[in-house]
Symmetry: C2
């Protein structure tokens, strides 16, 4: 009887206590500004934004999941080169493949965009979209992050998963806008972030529609169609969505233009937590961060998130 | 009292009588197959399709609205050339502009793809996306269809508007996949079809992100980025949506690949109604239709809609 009373008591009182939608965020300016933005845009008043315009765009690598010491997709591509090497004896003496096969870390670190283009071309093409997804899916099941010894798909930032969920509950459409491969992210976007394929915008290779054995097939061909980085981000957002975002989230110089393009909130994740993750500050040699980006963020009133100060949890346990 | 009884009586009985979701469709095989498809895919059973996979794609010109005697966008482009002519005295002696300025209908009819590319390049670029939308918006308010003497935006096919609405009510996402200009259709897609910008896929020009007077702007530049026609349609569907449609609707050889790419229903609108609209049969010289397309439709079990037989109403009054 006392127990029943207690349960009824809880049931009545609970709705009066607001449940914190962002429990992995420490109290502070960043969290406060996020909550204020959502309240302002979704409740009646001068800042109200109608649901059809509630577009929120998120960079992926370094914003939604770990990008250090190397992008997951980069690791996938390098491993594909090893797997395909026996079919390409010429690679032994051919840049950039030689460096990969000889595991020359210094050379790999200094690959040019052209080198990377060549690697992606051969490792991400010559198969159907469906086969490619299977390949990535299988790889992600086995691959472990070198430091955290966990699958990459478990290394999404818990605080950002909370933001995604919270925004969707408040009627926002959440999009990934990544410099990484669109089809790569599509293989796990729904499972990891709750983001369906049609809300994943990314760098895209060309595909060719053809009829094979009387069945229609889309085959990945070794040409880049669209690079979704820097100015490519607002351009891609326009191409895919046709509306300016009202909230944008990034962490690198590749996201600056997307953050500028937001009509409302812009948030920059600052990796300053070498202990729990990585620190790539203005002066560090890793990551695509710069003092200039930080200066822009301050000047334009973007929310700067200190991973160290603002996040009490990094990953789901 | 009797009136109250009557109202209660109606209120109880009404849900038992199914309201026809497609009143502008005559009873017949096409309507029956459409209704069966929606019932099968949305009610429990072996044909059930989960909501997240309910993707329906629609060609626009000739499928959702009138495309004869000339595409609305084509007319817009030709009128832009006249409007811009004073700034381009060289056009008087330069193909393809000379033919437009001299209103040489025969030459205009025989424009090559290259000619059309040149016309679109100059008439659809050199301004921001926002300015372009305003231009199209203003033009659509004034322009009248030469035969029907009504704005183009009133010449959407009522039967297809009913299909769009019905599918959305049943949890389908409806997309336009047009060979026409993506940004052109985006100016009125929501108003005319209830389709938001992010569900409009079309032929796209390149845009350039830049900062003008301290404000970010997307400027249309005179290069084609993507042609959303023929094999471009399934390729575009993959790029934008990342899922195969389960229902596709078209009317021309430009739609064949999209209809093949549908995993479920494929529907071909056949313009055979010269009296109420236009007839462009296998042998006619107008439209992009062919005997081969009709043969494919029959062989593959696509629904062939006879405008004359299947639609009792063409346009909203």
């Amino acid at each position: 009887m006392i127990k029943s009373f207690y349960l009824i008591f809880i049931a009545i009182l609970c709705p009066l206590h607001a449940i914190d939608p962002l429990p992995s965020w420490n109290e502070g300016i960043a969290k406060q500004k996020l909550l204020e933005f959502v309240k302002m845009t979704t409740e009646e008043g001068s800042g109200f934004i109608p649901p059809e315009e509630r577009i929120a765009t998120f960079d992926q690598d370094g914003t939604l999941w770990v990008e250090q010491p190397f992008y997951a997709q980069g690791t996938f591509a390098l491993e594909r080169i090893h797997a395909l090497a026996s079919q390409h004896p010429e690679w032994k003496h051919q840049a950039p493949f030689q460096a990969i096969l000889e595991r020359d870390q210094e050379a790999i670190k200094n690959f040019t965009e052209q080198d990377i283009g060549k690697i992606l071309a051969v490792s991400h093409s010559g198969m159907s979209i469906k086969e490619y997804h299977q390949l990535v899916h299988d790889w992600l099941k086995e691959a472990l992050h070198p430091r955290f010894k966990r699958p990459y798909t478990e290394l999404a930032y818990q605080p950002m998963l909370e933001v995604l969920k919270f925004l969707r509950e408040k009627g926002f459409k959440t999009y990934i806008v990544t410099g990484g491969g669109q089809e790569f992210v599509r293989t796990y976007g729904d499972q990891v972030y709750g983001i369906p394929t049609e809300h994943i915008i990314g760098t895209a290779g060309k595909v060719r529609y053809e009829i094979v054995n009387d069945q229609p097939v889309l085959t990945k061909i070794p040409d880049v169609f669209f690079i979704d980085d820097k100015q490519g981000k607002p351009e891609g957002i326009n191409l895919f969505i046709g509306k300016r975002p009202v909230a944008a989230f990034g962490n690198s110089i590749g996201d600056q233009q997307m953050l500028e393009w937001s009509k409302g909130l812009a948030l920059l994740v600052h990796h300053d937590d070498a202990e729990r993750e990585y620190a790539y500050d203005e002066d560090s040699k890793i990551g695509r961060f710069s003092a200039e980006l930080m200066r822009q963020a301050r000047a334009k009133g973007w929310i700067v998130v200190s991973m160290k100060q603002d996040w009490n949890t990094l990953f789901a346990p």
